[in-house]
Amino acid sequence: MLSKRLIVCLDVRDRKVTKGVKFVGNVDIGDPVTMAKEYSDGGVDELVFYDITASAEGRPIDLQMVEQVAEQVFIPFSVGGGIRNVDDMRRALLAGADKVSVNSLAVQHPEIIRDGAVAFGNQCIVLGMDALKVEPSAAIPSGYEVVIRGGRTRMGLDAVQWAQRAQELGAGEICLNSIDADGTRDGYELTVTRLVSEAVDIPVIASGGAGVPQHLAAVLTVGRADAALVASMVHYGDYTCQSIKQDLHAAGVKVRLSW
């Protein structure tokens, strides 16, 4: 039986893993390669690296970091941030990433999904999506709208329809982040996760809002997610991947327990 995946997200800036803290800005919490190795040894199923300043600075993703991770970590990992075109995807994959993630670029230029999938296979292309809860309307029937720039720009696009379109274009997976839940530690947005997961045939990773293991259990069952993404829960040592997985197992969620 396929296990539900626990995925740790590392936001990277200037070769350091960083974590946004409200009103304070970002604090550095460690070296990405060292942390990747520790999480891998600790039983995480997959890793995600976001180069959080690459896009704003108009530069490609930090390929040297990708290479160093690939040399030391033998579980799947994806990279995002700073992917501008198919050539950037190619460089990231050749550096050793298993998947590349596109978010705002795909909203503005959906053909990047198709071009990437044709060039490298659907399994390499992850659609990152930020969804905001809105009043349902003719344009946004699900009541969840796709937003970019951390929620600052609403795109007039229905999150469920966009997920289906991305699947048609060749996305292999969707990482769905709830802007409303992100950073709250109050739990994932179960409704949008379930709506999207039931509307597509490809795996959906739930992101945003994880505070305690019960939140993961809920999104992996009620929310129908295939994987759950965490960051601060494990970065600050409140939980380990192992402790989260033991709690998920106790809650009846199938997870990988030996590594």
Partner: protein, 208 residues
């Protein structure tokens, strides 16, 4: 030296890095002469079967692969190669494959039940038999899969390990003589995968 066949079917960086990490010399190659002189061969790959078979033939790499198997040199297939070694696949409207092992490759079909395809993630590998490559690998350890198709060996003895996805059991490791093949990615399966890969890299090609 282990030759890692590059037939333009996906990214081989991880396979090469895993071989190096284990302390072995691997060479990613499109050169039939390098494959012919290699002590052992890894036949990796991901993506679509149609283009993979076409590339393999266009680059003239199917013959040195057949020769390695005929010579008794250890050969490891991974992911799409796990399917290409069989007779035929239903993918891409039907594609004739290498026929190194008998049987077809078919798509996951759950009779209308909505199931996520591809199977993507970690799943248990249940060993069906003893094999030198399984030394230190505990049956039930999970490995990382990404696939929509799977082979159905004509001879049940070819199935060395099986895995269950949504109630359907399929051959996740197959083998005969000096050929062994995994549907999952050992280079991406943490300690479990590296255990199998290390065993393969020291295997003499004899099944028992």
């Amino acid at each position: 030296m282990v030759a890692i066949i590059d037939y333009e079917a996906g990214n081989l960086t991880s396979v090469a890095l895993a071989v190096r990490h284990l302390g072995f010399v691997g060479e990613v190659t499109q050169d039939p002469a390098v494959i012919a002189s290699a002590e052992r061969v890894i036949f990796p790959g991901q993506g679509a079967a149609g283009s993979a078979m076409a590339n393999l033939r266009r680059l003239g790499l199917d013959q040195p692969l057949r020769a390695a198997i005929a010579d008794g040199r250890p050969v490891l297939g991974i992911c799409i190669a796990h399917q290409l070694i069989f007779d035929h696949t239903a993918e891409d409207g039907g594609v004739a494959c290498l026929g190194l092992l008998p049987g077809p490759v078919i798509r996951f079909d759950f009779a209308g039940r909505r199931v996520k395809i591809p199977q993507m993630g970690w799943n248990a590998v249940e060993l069906q038999t003893a094999h030198p490559v399984f030394e230190g690998f505990e049956s039930g350890w999970e490995c990382y899969f990404v696939h929509s198709y799977y082979p159905v060996p004509a001879d049940p003895a070819l199935t060395l390990a099986s895995t269950e996805y949504e109630g359907l059991s399929f051959a996740s490791i197959v083998g005969r003589d000096n050929l062994i093949s995994t549907q999952f990615h050992p280079e991406k399966s943490g300690r479990a995968g590296l255990t199998l890969l290390r065993n393969f890299l020291t295997w003499d090609g004899r099944p028992c």
